[in-house]
């Protein structure tokens, strides 16, 4: 039993139970989400742990991390604001919204605020095209949708996170 398996024993077992016994490899995606809960990215140790659980090589697990956009191999901001600026949203002001958010946070698209709290990224359609401007927030635990947003409402959200973070310290 490796570290990941020990720490999340019940969950790992429940994930493996979803797939046939001889198809453990199917568990790779849900296991990567479990790993990412620790610090928002998949570490080398996680790769090794997951590889051991599903009986493949760590390189194979790494290739999965590289293929999908919601897995990360680097730590970034605790909250990733992923703004959709795909065609339908862009026709409803998403590009200007994205620029506005970035300017106010003092970062470029793809950048992270100095306090390491927020990363802002541009992403493809999120199936909420009638509610633009919109974004999702990927944090360690969850992915949450925020629809019909303004630059102001977004900055307020960031403020709320900052205050919550300050309290914890």
């Amino acid at each position: 039993m490796n570290a990941l398996q020990t720490k999340y024993a019940k969950e790992v077992k429940a994930i493996l139970a979803k797939y046939p016994d001889d198809q453990k490899r199917s568990a790779v995606m849900p296991l990567l989400y479990v790993a990412q809960r620790e610090a928002g990215y998949v570490s080398r140790q996680h790769l090794a742990d997951i590889a051991e659980i599903i009986e493949v090589t760590p390189t194979e697990v790494a290739s999965i991390v590289g293929f999908y956009t919601l897995y990360h191999d680097q730590p970034e901001g605790k909250y990733r604001i992923q703004v959709c600026n795909d065609l339908p949203c862009a026709m409803r002001g998403a590009d200007a919204f994205l620029q506005g958010v970035c300017e106010n946070l003092g970062i470029e698209v793809g950048g992270t605020t100095d306090d390491g709290l927020v990363t802002v990224e541009a992403v493809m359609c999120l199936a909420a095209c009638d509610k633009a401007p919109m974004f999702q927030v990927q944090d360690y635990e969850n992915i949450t949708y925020y629809e019909e947003q303004t630059v102001d409402s977004t900055l307020k959200l960031v403020d709320k996170w900052r205050k919550a973070g300050a309290k914890k310290k």
Partner: protein, 432 residues
């Protein structure tokens, strides 16, 4: 009996919000069909009813659903059902509303489908962004187990069924059914060579039925009320209703469930409230970013949205995600957006698509930044034409549709003035 108002077969929660709760769904007669089917109907009878209804796949290709089910290989076991809930086509947001607001009808549809094709396990593959939605579905599935509507020896018969959700992680290509199966197997989400098709060689190499969320949400009412009832909606060759996701430059974007055969004009001008601020409509994309651009003239607006009529406009019904483009949108800008999308989402497995989308994006960027000459437009079209028919899966083809149709049908937009930067029309935020 399940209540149906107007043309809401799938978006019934809009008339009766209680349907989103288990109790509300049961009160409306939910899962009675499920019990009836498991205890009294043969799988073949279920397949026949769906076949007779004329239901066609709502995921894009429009393949007759009952016919697909008949193709499942009966000499190879076990069978699987895999639900395509990847919904990633730009402009498409209908499956999400079904699963969020009318989840029990969707789940009953999945269950009936599994029974029809003799599967004991069904996986619901959701795009990773539908994280919260998957968590809700997990709870709902647990409830169904508790209520003994899922599990072993259902209603005292020998039939057993389990449902599982599986989250993707951000890759449009995983909506293509064979890439989805690869992804579900824990591999890179890249399409397989076809044939063989999933009904003979699917998940884990076993016979598998892959259907879209909206397709399956139709099944409970088709079985309960019959194929003949279903055919009262829509047209002879395109029976039923369809959810049209309406987006872009329109006053009231959103999902509209209407009979197949409703015209573009009726959807955009009547239901959608027309184009804001008195501007004129210029073009229609009929199936998200994957579609050609239709010139939005009177003929187009009078065209019925069904599987037979849309091709006459040089377009496809597809997932019926209608993106409205008004006169202020510069198509050089639009094409750069679609090409950027496909370049980002190309899985890289085959060269024509990987290289073609890369070069197209390179050219559209130059055009956008005023660094292009007229001959670059010809080059852009050439690259697109060279991709056609050479790609392993339909994504490569999709990537060329907006490019070629815009250049051919809207030549004025592609007259290059030296050094002129393209502006995306106005970028004002529009709200109702």
């Amino acid at each position: 009996m399940s209540t149906v108002k107007g043309s809401h077969i799938l978006l019934r929660h809009r008339d009766n919000p209680a349907l989103s709760t288990f109790e509300g769904y049961i009160k409306d007669g939910g899962f009675k069909t499920w019990k009836q089917v498991v205890t009294r109907m043969t799988p073949e009878a279920v397949v026949n009813e769906v076949f007779d209804s004329g239901l066609r796949g709502r995921g894009g290709a429009g393949f007759p659903t009952g016919l697909k089910w008949r193709f499942i290989d009966k000499n190879n076991w076990p069978h699987y059902v895999v639900v395509n809930a990847d919904e990633s086509e730009p402009g498409t947001f209908k499956d999400r509303e079904i699963m969020e607001s009318n989840p029990w009808q969707f789940l009953e549809g999945v269950m009936l489908t599994a029974y029809a094709v003799n599967a004991n396990v069904a996986y619901i593959y959701l795009r990773g962004e539908f994280w919260m939605l998957a968590a809700e579905l997990d709870k709902q599935i647990a409830r169904l187990r508790k209520e003994k509507l899922l599990g072993m020896k259902l209603f005292g018969t020998d039939y057993e069924l389990e449902l599982h959700t599986h989250l993707g992680a951000g890759a449009y290509i995983c909506g293509e059914e064979t890439a989805l199966l690869e992804s579900l197997e824990g591999k890179l989400g890249q399409p397989r060579l076809r044939p063989p098709f999933p009904p003979s060689f699917g998940l884990y190499g076993k016979p598998t039925i892959v259907n879209n969320v909206e397709t399956l949400a139709n099944v409970p009412l088709i079985i309960e009320k019959g194929a003949k009832w279903y055919r009262k909606f829509g047209t002879e060759k395109s029976p039923g209703t369809k959810i049209f996701s309406l987006s872009g430059r329109v006053a009231k974007p959103g999902n509209y469930e209407l009979p197949l055969g409703t015209t573009y004009g009726d959807l955009i001008m009547t239901h959608g409230g027309g184009i804001p601020e008195g501007r004129k409509i210029k073009a229609i994309m009929s199936a998200g970013a994957s579609s050609t651009l239709i010139v939005a003239d009177d003929k187009a607006l009078a065209t019925p949205m069904d599987y037979e009529s849309v091709p006459a406009l040089g377009a496809q019904l597809g997932s019926a995600s209608i993106i409205v483009i008004d006169e202020t949108v510069d198509l050089k800008w639009l094409v750069d957006k679609t090409v950027h999308f496909f370049n980002h989402e190309s899985c890289g497995k085959c060269t024509p698509c990987r290289e073609g989308t890369y070069w197209m994006n390179n050219i559209t960027q130059r055009i956008l930044h005023g660094e292009a000459e007229q001959k670059d437009v010809d080059l852009l079209k050439d690259v697109a034409m060279n991709m056609k028919g050479k790609c392993l899966c339909a994504l490569g083809e999709f990537a060329t549709e907006a490019v070629v149709s815009s250049i051919e049908r809207f030549p004025k937009d592609f007259k290059i003035k030296a050094g002129a930067k393209t502006i995306a029309g106005e970028l004002k935020v529009m709200h109702d």
